[in-house]
């Protein structure tokens, strides 16, 4: 009894100390991450106090799946077609080129790492390399939004950065979703022919589309649910929708993040409930992200010696790929008025989706270096979250000094949201 209660007390004190340390980072560097939550998850988990044993961590799967799907759906709601149609073509060119070049560079380097250096056969090397390349490509708009809010003024590059962050997330999630379909794991029932990789990809998309259409009907075409029954009912309906879609994906060993991205995209583009759905998802994004960090901390069980160099190498690979992708998009592809050679420096923050992909990987491919992938992701996310805000500030500072400031009211609206 005393041991357990003492463990609870130690965790509390440890967490509060960690919180105070990171709070200083928040003040000094505009830190937006949640490293203290990984820490508390690790303390609670089977490795340290065991208050959440391995079995109980497994029991948390419904909450984790909800969190994964929640972030995927939120990402999907960003891509509302009427709003996207108003985005300048040059912004889209910058965003897509940055995302694709970053992904390509990271993939090349990681394939070399896993196949040539660590000696994995091509299929296994590809699975790990694509997963980490997807994680490397992701960038979070939270830090950009935070700097934008703090500055009170915005440079012309802000909308480009916000758009690029979302396209990065789209490319990362789509690549990961496609990976799980192409390198599908798991057996089908004896009565049916095993689907091909293309068929799995189509099934993956179809689950998302079918879920989207059904929940569009479930919520009602005119946002009826929200107006009459309030946010809590909408929360329950959305949670149910996400858990159903995630459950279907898990059942098929596919990515619930991708499925919910498609679901979110359809909800955002159908009916008038999209505003309420997006608002609710945004309001709950941070708790969901932090819950995911706690779970990642609890599930984290580092043991492989490869961790020692894969995680630092991954950080370097991401840095290199990001800078290269940012330079190509910002210096070569961008028009003169948006030229930002150090664009990649403003896209260092990774955020919740990165952790979500890594957690999803540990659930779908526990057999293939799940610890390595999770550790590399956590190290990268936590590290880049610390420096992200300062880097954004410096990049934006440079851009504003050359282009002049504009009032926030004119440009602060997020580019993909109405």
């Amino acid at each position: 009894m005393q041991t357990t209660l003492a463990a609870l007390a130690v965790i509390t004190v440890g967490y509060i100390l960690a919180y105070l340390v990171f709070d200083r980072l928040r003040d000094r560097f505009g830190y937006v991450g949640g490293a203290e939550y990984v820490f508390i998850g690790f303390l609670l988990g089977p490795r340290i106090t065991g208050l959440l044993g391995a079995e109980q961590v497994q029991d948390l799967t419904p909450i984790v799946s909800l969190a994964l799907g929640w972030l995927g759906m939120l990402l999907g709601t960003y891509f509302r077609l009427p709003t996207m149609a108003t985005i300048e073509a040059s912004h889209l060119r910058i965003a897509f080129s940055e995302a694709l070049i970053t992904f390509g560079c990271a993939l090349g380097a990681l394939l070399a790492l896993f196949h040539s250096l660590l000696g994995y056969p091509w299929p296994e090397a590809t699975v790990q390399a694509v997963t980490l390349a997807a994680v490397a490509t992701l960038s979070s708009s939270a830090a950009i939004d935070a700097v934008s809010r703090k500055a009170g003024q915005v440079a012309p590059i802000f909308p480009v950065l916000q758009l690029t962050a979302r396209i990065d997330a789209l490319v990362g999630v789509a690549a990961f979703g496609l990976l799980l379909a192409v390198f599908h794991l798991g057996q089908v029932s004896l009565e049916v022919r095993p689907p091909t990789a293309t068929e799995w990809a189509v099934i993956n998309l179809a689950v998302g589309v079918a879920s989207g259409v059904l929940f569009h009907l479930f919520l009602g075409p005119r946002g009826h649910l929200h107006e009459v029954e309030g946010n809590s009912r909408l929360f329950v309906a959305l949670a149910g929708a996400i858990v159903v879609a995630s459950g279907a994906s898990y059942y098929l060993n596919l990515s619930p993040i991708f499925t919910n991205l498609v679901l979110g995209f359809i909800l955002a583009n159908s009916g008038s409930a999209h505003r309420d759905v997006t608002r609710l998802l945004l309001n709950t994004e941070r708790p969901v992200y932090l819950a995911l960090l706690i779970f990642a901390g609890a599930a984290w069980s580092p043991s492989s010696p490869e961790l020692l160099f894969v995680a630092p190498l991954f950080v370097l690979v991401r840095l290199g790929a990001r800078f290269l992708g940012g330079w190509t998009a910002g210096a070569v592809i961008a028009p003169p008025e948006l030229r930002t050679p150090k664009l990649g420096r403003a896209l260092l923050a990774q955020g919740g989706i990165a952790v979500a992909l890594a957690v999803n990987y540990t659930q779908v491919r526990p057999d293939l270096n799940a610890d390595v992938i999770l550790t590399a992701t956590l190290v990268s996310v936590l590290l880049f979250d610390i420096v992200a805000s300062r880097e954004i500030g410096q990049v934006v500072g440079r851009t504003t000094s050359s282009s002049g400031l504009e009032r926030k009211e004119e440009h602060v609206a997020e580019p993909l949201r109405q």
Partner: protein, 430 residues
């Protein structure tokens, strides 16, 4: 409504289509469980809305949805899935316990202490006497008294009666949240059911030991029983103080991300409760109470956050409770079940009216206070399971009968209490 029901049917149909695309797996929480949990949530929400349209409490809709999908009726959500999702239910119980504790204000207890104590004592006494008398008088129809007579029959009847004194803090809080009720009736009922929750644990442990001893089982002596009782309560109080202190420290130093914090606290406490064998509900009620009433911090942000999260939590809890009901097991005893429900209700009605009058309670409390004491749910089900596990000879039939009574009280109680709150003029959310 029809549209939503059609969507739910299509979802279930879609699940059937996907079935052959994966061979069954074991080990971790089954992906199928996750899918069915989502279906359960959506169905509960739909049935809740339907119940609201029919002017009955939403939680009845959640219960019916769970029952309809559960193993008793359609079997879409099988028992294995409910086992997989046990942690979700514990989370729901834990969050509501913290909220219930925080809702229990010391000032209210001081002001209404006499009324609460009088109603509680009378309710306990009247229900015990009425149920014991009825059970013994109609022993030939009571399955667990078959072949038992004399003092063993009395102590077994006492154990059974204790389970029927249990109220339901979950149902009370769910209804008060749904109705937005904060008047004298709401506060008195909440006080009675929460204090009764502590009292019943003591009564149950004592009566269980007596029944066990009278049936010839390995029973402890009176001093040992008392020591065990005190230790059980002490453990829960001690753990409650520690958890309450942790929550206070957090509210003092951090004050952020309160939903995440509350979830972590509940999971950590559930882990500790499992390891150390203390009562999760009681511990978290004490923790919530201490944060609200004793700790030198403002608990409002936490209480407000828990209120906002309450409805989804209620949906999970009541839908799963409904799914766990095994209707077919007690349907053969329906005359006994109905008879005992009526006896219990009359005892509660009489004690509520008398208690309110003797203690000088407000008119609405005297007239309608009894309605809040009828519902039964999780705690009573838990006690019935304990009896079935530890005294299988009499425990299993006793559990069957108790579950039937709880099911009926669960169905009638919320309707009565909602009506009571309406008549008392305390419903602020229609």
């Amino acid at each position: 409504m029809i549209r939503r029901l059609v969507v739910l049917m299509l979802l279930v149909g879609g699940a059937v289509l996907l079935e052959p695309l994966r061979a069954p797996t074991e080990g971790v929480i089954a992906p199928r469980s996750l899918f069915l949990f989502g279906i359960l949530l959506l169905t509960a929400d739909t049935f809740g809305a339907l119940a609201h349209d029919l002017r009955v409490p939403r939680l009845l809709g959640y219960l019916v949805a769970g029952l309809a999908l559960g193993p008793s009726v359609a079997g879409i959500v099988p028992a294995g899935v409910l086992d997989d999702l046990g942690m979700m239910k514990r989370l729901a119980v834990g969050l509501i316990a913290v909220l219930a504790g925080a809702e229990l204000r010391l000032a209210d207890l001081r002001q209404r202490g006499r009324v609460i104590a009088t109603i509680l004592v009378l309710q306990t006494a009247f229900v015990l006497v009425a149920v014991i008398a009825t059970t013994l008088l109609s022993s030939r129809w009571i399955p667990f008294l078959d072949g038992i007579s004399g003092s063993p029959a009395f102590f077994v009847a006492l154990l059974f009666a204790v389970m029927l004194t249990v109220n339901s803090p979950m149902v009370t809080l769910a209804l008060l949240t749904e109705a937005g009720a904060r008047g004298p009736l709401a506060r008195t009922t909440l006080g009675v059911v929460l204090v009764a929750d502590v009292v019943v644990i003591l009564l149950f442990t004592g009566s269980f030991s007596l029944a066990q001893a009278s049936l010839g089982g390995a029973a402890a002596g009176a001093p040992q029983i008392m020591a065990q009782l005190l230790w059980e309560v002490l453990k829960a109080v001690l753990a409650g103080v520690v958890i309450g202190s942790i929550m206070s420290l957090y509210l003092h130093f951090v004050k952020r991300e309160l939903v995440v914090f509350a979830v972590v606290v509940v999971f950590a406490t559930a882990g500790a409760a499992e390891a150390l064998h203390f009562e999760l509900l009681l511990t978290l009620v004490i923790a919530g109470f201490l944060v609200e009433n004793v700790a030198p911090v403002r608990a409002e942000p936490l209480v407000e956050t828990l209120h906002q999260a309450a409805i989804p939590v209620f949906v999970v809890f009541f839908a799963m409770t409904g799914a766990e009901l095994r209707v077919q097991e007690f349907v053969g005893f329906w005359p006994v079940v109905v008879g005992l429900v009526l006896v219990r209700m009359v005892a509660i009605y009489t004690s509520g009216r008398l208690g309110g009058r003797w203690a000088g309670a407000e008119e609405p409390v005297t007239r309608y206070g009894w309605t809040g004491l009828v519902p039964q749910a999780g705690v009573a089900l838990g006690l019935a399971t304990t009896v079935a596990d530890r005294l299988p000879g009499i425990g299993v039939p006793m559990q069957t009968l108790t579950v039937g009574i709880i099911a009926l009280n669960q169905a009638l109680g919320p309707i009565l209490f909602r009506r009571g709150l309406e008549r008392a003029g305390e419903v602020t959310i229609q």
